[in-house]
């Protein structure tokens, strides 16, 4: 690992993004619009908006980063730039960390905008600190980046890569407690939701809505999300091969 190469990679990824202002706008504006929409969907039931809004604040960065990373990494693989980079003195860790840094920076902006809007403008009732909300949102973004990187190894085209979003993320959205509380699910589904990382990403957000300070569950949630991300990142690194058939 080299700090210089990691930073150069992060700078390069951000430069690529900067040539694509529409993608940046979509990444930043869409979550805000959807949260505003949600606020008025639950107009008559503000308590529901508190938990659903917080859950979505956790899910958005995950989805965005998953999509962006899986497409970006797939492009690296298919354009030959990955092969070239790996024939150069670049560590796989440099590449992964560079991507994580660049998209992490975008995630900070996205999460800050969405959280700020939801708490300050849309009036989400928060018992805990908005900073903790931001922290979980970042962990979720990190998880999205890692998962996106991992699945891109199994996609041969951008069509396939996009289809991995519903395949990998929708089941987690259904089972994470956003729609039905996880405790009241059928036991098999509830067990399944216990092993899916997004459940913890969403639970962490809801913890902040209902509790002041850092709870034990909050710490567990954060550790599970970060741990899952690291695991996916390690599996993703294993799919970056210097030698290919």
């Amino acid at each position: 690992m080299s700090l210089d190469r990691t930073l150069a990679t992060a700078r390069r990824v951000l430069r690529q993004l900067s040539h694509d202002p529409r993608t940046i706008a979509l990444m930043l504006v869409v979550p805000c619009v959807l949260l505003t929409l949600l606020k008025y969907v639950f107009d008559g039931n503000p308590r529901t908006f508190d938990s659903a809004g917080a859950s979505l604040l956790g899910i958005f960065p995950l989805i965005t980063m998953f999509l962006v990373t899986s497409i970006a990494t797939l492009r690296e693989r298919t354009s030959g730039t990955l092969e070239r980079l790996l024939s150069m003195p670049l560590g796989k860790g440099d590449l992964l960390a560079g991507y994580a840094l660049a998209f992490g920076a975008v995630a900070v902006v996205q999460a800050a905008l969405a959280t700020g809007l939801t708490v300050l403008v849309l009036g989400l009732n928060l018992t805990g600190s908005a900073w903790l909300l931001l922290l979980v949102a970042l962990a979720n973004a990190f998880l999205g980046t890692a998962l996106g990187l991992f699945v891109s190894a199994f996609a041969a085209s951008e069509f396939q890569a996009v289809q991995f979003m519903p395949a990998v993320l929708l089941p987690q959205i259904l089972l994470c407690g956003l729609i039905v509380p996880r405790g009241s699910m059928q036991p098999v589904l509830s067990g399944l939701s216990d092993v899916l990382p997004m459940s913890y990403g969403v639970d962490g957000m809801v913890q902040v809505v209902h509790h002041t300070g850092v709870t034990g569950d909050f710490v567990r949630d954060l550790v599970v999300v970060a741990g899952s991300a690291l695991l996916a990142l390690a599996l993703g690194a294993a799919t970056l091969r210097r030698r290919t058939a």
Binding site: R5, R12, Q16, S79, G80, S87, P89, L90, T244
Partner: protein, 303 residues
């Protein structure tokens, strides 16, 4: 031997060593690439079979053959990108793909491996950082390589907006960064106009003369073969010849490398036809596959 009175940078040091290796003592310099019993299997098919050859240092070696003959696979094996390579393949004194080789070997794939959503200059700046060139020297390296491939005027255009030929030159410029000791170029002149092709070949020769760079360049355009110091002729994964262009022409009694190649193809076809079914001496030579469009008339003129 003329030693330049420049401060001894990595490049000049290498050029001096190159001069010494080539002209002092008469001893044979160590080959830049040495292959023995090289074999590559891809998708259950043997793409390269039983190749043994050497690439001399500080020379331009052309790798020629019809498309699909295994040129790219051989180049990927040399750069260490190819899986399932058996036999011995030594590059600059290390096994191919060794980590010590990564900064020393420049590689241009057939498809331009650059970021379409960055400008040419931004592409080069990133790859310069990846190569680990000293921060203070990067901008200079980037400008020089842009100049070398004649892209200074298009340096700030997004690579995605460049023409195919320009994009290929950005990809080539990346490989030139840091003046690698071995340059592996997979069909770098495809789709370029004659003027540009001539300029690039002049650039390759300049690299050899000024830096002692070893160039391994593939092409299926046979007229480019005349510009190489040595040639490896490849057909269906096997080596047909390993010689200088002049010696090839002389040995086959032909006027051009293209004719020499066709002559060798027919010769090889005759051999394989005779060996399995002996007793059929009159067997017609198998029609050559691959780049056979011009095979018929040329064979007549060559024989």
């Amino acid at each position: 031997m003329a030693l330049e009175l420049r401060p001894l940078t990595r490049d000049t040091g290498r050029a001096i060593i190159h001069h010494m290796m080539n002209y002092a003592g008469g001893a044979h310099p160590a080959p830049a690439v040495e292959a023995a019993d090289l074999r590559v299997v891809r998708g259950g098919r043997t793409v390269l079979d039983d190749l043994s050859f050497t690439v001399p240092p500080g020379r331009i070696t052309g790798l020629l053959g019809p498309s699909g003959c295994g040129k790219s696979t051989l180049m990927r094996a040399v750069t260490g990108s190819q899986a399932r390579v058996t036999g011995t393949l030594t590059v600059l004194g290390h096994p191919a793909g060794h980590r010590a080789l990564r900064p020393r070997v420049g590689y241009v794939t057939q498809a331009p491996s650059v970021y379409a959503d960055l400008t040419a200059r931004q592409n080069l700046a990133y790859y310069a950082a990846v190569l680990g060139l000293p921060r203070a020297e990067r901008a200079g390296h980037v400008e020089r390589t842009l100049h070398d491939v004649d892209l200074t005027s298009h340096a700030d255009v997004l690579a995605g907006s460049l023409s195919g030929g320009q994009l290929g030159r950005v990809s080539l410029a990346v490989a030139l960064l840091g003046t690698p000791e071995l340059l592996v170029l997979d069909e770098p002149t495809v789709g370029l106009d004659p003027v540009l092709r001539r300029d690039l070949w002049q650039l390759f020769h300049r690299l050899v003369e000024e830096h002692g760079t070893t160039v391994l360049v593939s092409s299926h355009v046979m007229d480019e073969a005349e510009r190489c110091h040595r040639l490896l002729l490849l057909r269906e994964g096997r080596l047909l010849a390993d010689d200088t262009p002049a010696a090839l022409r002389e040995r086959t009694g032909t006027a051009t490398v293209e004719d020499a190649f066709l002559h060798l193809v027919d010769e090889a076809a005759d051999r394989t036809d005779r060996t399995p079914h002996d007793g059929s001496p009159g067997a017609a030579p198998r029609p050559s596959t691959g780049s056979s469009r011009s095979a018929e008339p040329t064979r007549k003129s060559a024989s």
